[in-house]
Symmetry: C2
Subunit: 209 residues, 2 copies
Amino acid sequence: MARPRQALLTKERIVEAAAALIDAEGLDACSMRRLATELGVQGPSLYNHFATKAEIVDAVAEAVVAQVDITVFGGNDWREGLRLWAKSYHAVLAAHPNIVPVLATGPGRRPAGLAMAEAVYGALIEAGWSRARATHIGALMRYLITGSALGSFALGFDADPELYDHYPHLHRAHELAAHRAAVDEGAFELGLDLLITSLSDRYDQGVRR
Amino acid sequence: MARPRQALLTKERIVEAAAALIDAEGLDACSMRRLATELGVQGPSLYNHFATKAEIVDAVAEAVVAQVDITVFGGNDWREGLRLWAKSYHAVLAAHPNIVPVLATGPGRRPAGLAMAEAVYGALIEAGWSRARATHIGALMRYLITGSALGSFALGFDADPELYDHYPHLHRAHELAAHRAAVDEGAFELGLDLLITSLSDRYDQGVRR
DNA sequence: TGCTTAAACTAGCGGCGTAAGTTTTTACAC
DNA sequence: GTGTAAAAACTTACGCCGCTAGTTTAAGCA
């Protein structure tokens, strides 16, 4: 086939297919040849639309981050804004866990990532936090959110009960997988709660740097 | 060359070389052929000592985790134990950042990882925390520690100043890289402080589940 | 001494990202 | 209208990758 009358590919279609493939089968499954097959095309054809594979994956990451609600910083107290944003971010990552390793390295040059950083940092600065502390708080929230999204804590333990025979306190660790949602959500909620209440305490005491 | 009079490879030598290669050039650089070259040997020879590449990487992860000091839970208050352990873990990961993605998925079947989980969870249980809460606290600490080790927050922002022209609060974000250590360490220290003091408050109020 | 096992080798499979060059269609300038 | 340049598909191929299979030779043991 030479150039078709109607283009088979567009950037949008490619990103959509890549996102679906990553969600369904993981980052490793999303190879250029496999992605092309999914789109009914040969591998190298993708290079007519993107220069590298990294650009495609980056576009998927951008689309995911764009789903996070950053409007919550307008009209809300900084504490409430932070809490609602973190929950939204957490929910988006929980829906697309396979792309998290890409996000974990930071916003890079992605517009949605930068817009999010701007919203978070801006809200903290306007609340009166020092520039250094606002940066720390932003970093800290990223640690909690991507750290919790990166790999299930519950699934990080092997399901083989015998493995824990010699660890007296871990004898029920093989049951963790069965309570995966409760464990992972509980830990995130606890962390968010602890961080925001203790930041709030400091803030109310006038310690803002 | 057939079988040499003195074996060229041992598990120890392979793991040592793999750790050095990963530290120096990253996980991607540590291919079987490259690692073999580093050891003065042909690629497939490694399979006489390990069944898969994953086993080698896992052994490197095990060696790194084994460096974390878990003796701090003995004789210390749970708060102090937690703080000292977290600092030790953080320091170890800071020294070997390229292996962090492997650890971030949990202890798996690695003895050092399981021993660490046992020590942390055991200390929390013996302090009086409920099983569910002890699990949450353990998960939370992992989120903070691996989240912060996974990628520098400061380096997550591109160094190109023009990139931030349209983000009013981010106009100095390109300077972050220059203060990398202060930013990343500051955020981790803040997080550790906030989590432990607010957990301590709850504990002292008798809220242990 | 002979047999088994260990530890190196070489050759090769299928997959990866990507580069180069080909073909045909479209879009636009003259 | 026609000639030309660009676009979008294609095929082929390069050098990596993890890993398998089969070969060779030395070591260790009965």
